[in-house]
């Protein structure tokens, strides 16, 4: 049950009545009885909440940064009209609007309420409850009850780096298109035969085919296809650190300092976790590799396997990837590199390109990955990609005052450690991509294209 503002107003009017009545005691009792009678009448004649039925429909998938609509149909099988307020309770980061809606459902009818979700975070968002407050005919009191009307909307990673895809696909076609006219090289395979045109390398003339036809025929080549790419996402503690600037405001982070004027010393917005930037880069790489005809598998790992996508066809690869990535959050534990390498080795039987998206943190890599790296790099081509922190780079550059110089020294030390671990990884024959958050996706795509052009896949 619940009371309304009208009941409070009536009680407040009762103060004046009691004050000026000739017999205040009796007036008090009268006002209270009147109020109680009104409340009882309302409770008795308000439309019942318990028998209400709810049906949902609408979207179940939405990209972060976009809006989803979920419809809620309220069915009133009872004998009385249900009039009042309805709240569809979603978690705060689902960004559900409206928060409450006024409903008026006559007996035996149904009404539809549209809830718009503007999520601020990846992951699954479920409706917690639907609560209805049904006000009685006098408007003094209401019946209230909650229902479970489950619905889950999966918020997918936004794949912001898809704007880089056309340019990289063009380079891929360039790669593709350059080869048929050129000599056979490393990492190429036989594509087709075509007529000789002036300018073609005479060494690529296929004499056997030429003999069979009346024309000079040359062989053309194209880059290798059907290579395997295994994208490994490190979801350990280092991936929780936030870098850069969040392209989509996160829940809990005031986008502009809550409207307050922010001085130059104000802390910057915390940005996006490394994990999300890595996912963005992984999606671009996967899209590119799928177009290039390679097979892409995906593994998310910290101390155990968090997600594993394998054997997805070219068309459904991206949708399976974003769906697998959506619920992954950075775990606040140290990643277990040994278990990760074991998981990779048990899943990738044939040689493949292992793209490890992690942080190039000297201490974490020294203890985790470095000892087990030879097992991996001996069987596979390994590419380690790390998101660097532009804030550290900015700190290293500011050297005006003594305080800034101390900060710059700390930043220099961090960058030095990063460069040293990069050099050590390269000495192990590992490719390294180290780029700031906005550039990590195109940089990783470029590294992949370079490897493909060099035929190292």
């Amino acid at each position: 049950m619940a009371l309304t503002g009208r009941a409070g107003l009536l009680a407040a009017l009762g103060i004046a009545v009691v004050l000026f009545a000739p017999r205040p005691g009796a007036a008090l009792a009268g006002v209270c009885l009147l109020l109680a009678a009104g409340v009882l009448v309302d409770l008795a004649f308000a439309g019942a909440v318990r028998p209400l039925r709810f049906h949902r429909s609408g979207e179940t998938l939405v990209r972060l940064g976009q809006r989803a609509t979920v419809e809620l149909v309220v069915e009133n099988p009872g004998g009385r009209r249900v009039r009042g307020l309805l709240r569809d309770a979603w978690p705060p980061s689902a960004g559900a609007t409206p928060r409450t809606a006024e409903i008026d459902v006559p007996a035996g009818e149904r009404r539809r309420i549209v809830v718009t979700l503007a999520p601020t975070r990846r992951g699954d968002r479920s409706s917690a409850a639907v609560t209805v407050r049904s006000v009685g005919p006098l408007g003094l009191a209401a019946r209230q009850g909650s229902h479970q009307a489950p619905w889950t909307v999966r918020v997918l990673p936004p794949f912001l780096s898809r704007k880089h895809l056309p340019s990289r696909l063009a380079r891929l076609r360039e790669l593709d298109g350059r080869h048929p006219a050129l000599v056979r090289g490393q990492g190429t395979e036989f594509d087709s035969l075509r007529e000789y045109v002036v300018g073609d390398d005479v060494r690529s003339i296929d004499w056997r085919a030429t003999a069979r036809r009346n024309d000079v025929v040359v062989r053309t080549w194209r880059p290798e296809r059907d290579r395997r790419v295994l994208i490994v996402l490190d979801t350990g503690r280092t991936s929780a650190g936030r870098v850069g600037e969040a392209p989509i405001p996160m829940a809990g982070a005031a986008p502009t300092g809550g409207g307050l004027p922010t001085g130059p010393d104000a802390l910057p917005t915390p940005g996006w976790p490394r994990l999300d930037w890595s996912m963005d880069a992984a999606l671009l790489l996967a899209a590119l590799a799928a177009r290039a005809g390679d097979r892409v598998d995906f593994l998310a790992h910290d101390r155990a396997v968090r997600a594993w996508v394998s054997g997805a066809s070219r068309t459904e690869l991206l949708s399976s990837l974003v769906s697998a990535m959506a619920p992954i959050e950075a775990e606040l534990v140290e990643a277990d590199a040994q278990a990760m390498v074991a998981a990779v080795l048990s899943r990738a039987k044939r040689r493949c390109l292992v793209v490890l998206l992690t942080d190039l943190n000297a201490a974490a890599l020294d203890e985790g990955l470095m000892p087990v790296l030879p097992q991996l790099s001996s069987r596979h081509l390994v590419l380690v990609a790390g998101v660097s922190d532009p804030r550290v780079a900015a700190m290293a550059g500011r050297r005006g005052t003594a305080e800034e110089v101390y900060d710059a020294a700390a930043a220099e030390q961090a960058q030095l450690g990063r460069r040293r671990i990069t050099a050590r990884l390269r000495r192990h024959g590992v490719e390294v991509v180290d780029a700031p958050p906005d550039d990590i996706a195109p940089a990783l795509a470029d590294a992949y294209l370079a490897l493909k052009a060099a035929g190292r896949l």
Partner: protein, 392 residues
């Protein structure tokens, strides 16, 4: 393929609010316990004897500070004990014959009216208006701790009783007074003739209480002092002390001026407040909890290290880091291998920039700067050298 897809969406809804029956079923145990506790408290209150607040030296009070025991002893010896709580009542008793007036409290009594009551009187304690009741008594500035004391005087009532538990303000009687139980510069019991009777002043009534009566010669002293055979008028504090009210103009207090309905209106206001509070306080549905991700900026460790350097003024480490960073960036630019020694670096740098190798050596590998301005200058020099190499 083990892609996690969203759970299948159920279409049916179910009510989750508790019904009256489920509330009763889950809450009846707690309700039963609550009823039992209330019941036990009520029964305990009902069977316990009705003890009002303690009334010190009252003949009707059986508590530790009362004097019911003494009153009963006196009655056993055939002495009439009449408890009065006002001066007019005491005067009325005095009119019936020769009596002993025992005064234990004068806080609410008019001492001038009391002096007009004839006969023997026993004054117990340092009362308000003692100089009026017993003129000639001199109060010494001393205060004696209550303990067992010997009479050391010629008063038969005291010597017969022997030691007694006495204390309180030290006093001296007027000339011709008998004083017993010496303490400090005076005595704790003074007896002197006054106004046609004998006035006895005892500094403290502790020896008369139910708690102390059985100790030492307390009972004997009290009986000797009070139980002289005459009926006793025992004046105590009024049972209902008159309420102190501030009378306004024409003797009407503020309470009298308020209309009678104000009180009821206040009750109504409380009810209205409760109704409004319930209206505003009732939540529309449950609070939805959410597991939020940790928000930690990746640069925090680096910032923390910078602050540590700053706090400890770690110029040596800071200079090392800056120099190492610069050298690390310069070495590939100078066309040297990554393991190049300091002499090679300095020589290559001097050849590139045309600066004095000695100075460059001191800049890159010299001693740490002595103070903060030195550190800032070092950082500036390193930047300049780097710019010179990168943008010749």
């Amino acid at each position: 393929m083990s892609v996690q897809t969203p759970a299948p969406q159920a279409v049916e809804s179910s009510a989750t609010s508790p019904t009256v029956r489920s509330v009763w079923r889950s809450g009846r145990g707690i309700a039963l316990v609550g009823v039992l506790v209330v019941l036990a408290a009520v029964i305990g209150l009902l069977i316990s004897p009705d003890r009002g607040p303690a009334r010190p030296l009252d003949p009707g009070d059986a508590s530790l500070s009362g004097s019911k025991a003494l009153a009963e002893l006196l009655r056993d010896r055939g002495v009439t004990v009449d408890r009065v709580d006002s001066v007019p009542a005491a005067a009325a008793k005095a009119a019936t014959g020769d009596r002993v007036l025992l005064i234990t409290d004068t806080a609410y009594h008019d001492e001038f009216a009391l002096t007009r009551i004839p006969g023997d009187r026993v004054i117990v304690g340092d009362l308000v208006g003692l100089p009026v009741l017993a003129p000639g008594i001199r109060m010494e500035p001393d205060y004696a701790r209550a303990r067992s004391r010997e009479p050391e005087c010629g008063l038969p009532a005291a010597t017969a009783a022997g030691s007694a538990y006495l204390g309180g303000p030290v006093m001296n009687g007027p000339g011709g007074a008998t004083a017993c139980y010496p303490a400090g510069d005076g005595h704790l019991l003074v007896r002197f003739p006054y106004g046609g009777g004998v006035t006895t002043v005892v500094a403290d009534g502790g020896f008369m209480t139910n708690q102390r009566l059985a100790e030492d010669g307390n009972a004997a002293l009290a009986l000797n002092l009070i139980g002289t055979g005459k009926p006793v008028t025992w004046l105590v504090r009024p049972d209902e002390p008159p309420a102190v009210d501030l009378p306004g103009e024409e003797g009407r207090s503020m309470h009298d001026l308020m209309p009678g309905s104000i009180r009821w209106a206040v009750y109504m206001a409380i009810i209205a407040l409760a109704v409004t509070a319930f209206w505003r306080g009732r939540r529309l549905g449950p609070v939805v909890a959410e597991r939020l991700p940790v928000i930690v900026r990746a640069a925090e460790t680096v910032e923390g290290r910078g602050r540590l350097y700053r706090a400890r003024r770690a110029r040596e480490r800071a200079a090392d880091a800056l120099r190492e960073g610069t050298v690390d960036r310069l070495v590939p630019r100078l066309g040297l291998a990554s393991g190049a020694g300091r002499h090679e670096v300095v020589a290559a740098l001097a050849a590139r920039t045309g600066q004095d190798p000695q100075q460059l050596g001191a800049l890159l590998y010299g001693p740490p700067p002595a103070d903060d301005p030195g550190l800032v200058a070092l950082a500036g020099h390193l930047d300049a050298i780097e710019r010179q190499v990168i943008e010749p």
